[in-house]
């Protein structure tokens, strides 16, 4: 969308020619980079330094405190044997859900930007689908909520398997990092639902595109942070 704020309704002309709200969201995203860098650094520094399990990628025997990266530890009593705690298939699904939410978000923005150009997306049912900002805002919010459900499932299963924020260094840094990210996703979902409510009430159009653009930038940032977390926390052993 247009980022120039020349005589924009409700916003005075600016010295840069850019809307202050958009500059502000980029500055905010820049500061968020620092926040997540500190959380990721903490996780990486503590990685491999936990004295007791459960561990992210290794089997752990509670009675002997032995670990194994290849498989169950021979001779360890069944109740004392802990499997690697990270569930890669489930997290892969949640990652896919979040990536698709970003696609839905750009489509929501495109629908709002082009609201005054009926037929911009082409003819037929597919075109009408692409032109529905409500559909894409709702889809983004639902996919974000779906990601949060995956995270709730993951956290709950970790606690049931014996890993809490107090168990070890891995638990502390993992729950802090992913919890902060989840809080950001929650804020994003609430933001999207607010936009959806406005869209339902009075309709969002090109004049509101900046509002949707700003929320989209935040949402995509949450997505790129997860791209980094997924690789650094879940995949790299």
């Amino acid at each position: 969308m247009s980022t120039s704020a020349v005589a924009h309704a409700g916003h005075p002309p600016t010295t840069t020619g850019l809307d202050h709200r958009k500059i502000a969201i980029w500055a905010f995203i820049g500061s968020e980079c620092m926040l997540f860098a500190s959380l990721i650094s903490t996780y990486l520094i503590y990685k491999g330094r936990s004295r007791v399990g459960p561990f992210p990628h290794e089997w752990w025997c509670q009675t002997t405190n032995a670990t194994s990266a290849t498989g169950p530890i021979a001779g360890c009593p069944a109740g004392a044997l802990f499997k690697p705690i990270l569930n890669i298939p489930v997290t892969s699904q949640s990652t896919f859900v979040l990536l698709m939410s970003s696609l839905a978000m750009v489509l929501a923005l495109a629908a709002v930007e082009n609201k005054d150009k009926p037929g911009w997306a082409g003819p037929g049912f597919g075109g009408r689908l692409l032109e529905s900002s409500k559909l894409w805002l709702l889809s983004t919010a639902l996919l974000g909520a779906g990601f949060l459900c995956y995270q709730a499932y993951e956290f709950t299963s970790f606690v049931h398997e014996g890993l809490t924020i107090k168990t070890n260094l891995f638990g502390s840094s993992f729950f802090t990092l992913t919890g902060f990210h989840g809080a950001h996703v929650t804020a994003g979902v609430l933001w999207l639902l607010t936009l959806l409510a406005i869209d339902v009430k009075r309709g969002l159009g090109p004049r509101d595109a900046l509002l949707v653009d700003i929320s989209a930038l935040y949402w995509h940032f949450v997505d790129v942070v997860w791209i980094a977390i997924f690789t650094l926390v879940y995949l790299i052993r």
Partner: protein, 122 residues
Amino acid sequence: MAHEPVQQTSESIASAEAHAAEGIVHEHPSWGTYKWVALILTVITIVEVWVYYIPAFVASRLFVPALLTMSAVKFVIVVLFYMHLKYDHKLFRALFTGPLLIAMTTIIALMFLFAKLVIRTG
């Protein structure tokens, strides 16, 4: 749901060109671009997870660099195309890449400080 990109009028193209010359406004990608970006992101994610389950590759020296590269590619694609940084004003690029570089430098410096990264000499 294959659709042609948005039809641009000569007026809008002229306006976009004028603004582009000022470094202010750029047109956003079409549905076709977004679709391909989503497909590329999905394929990279599938490859990332696939290599995670290949023990020989996990044990090799290529595992971590390969994953970091794939993650970086995904990161850059989302920032350029979904966040429109490729098309937006250079001030926004500076506001994002500046802190991002500081953040990445901080992570790398801390990794050296806590001996997670080591430069071997001799």
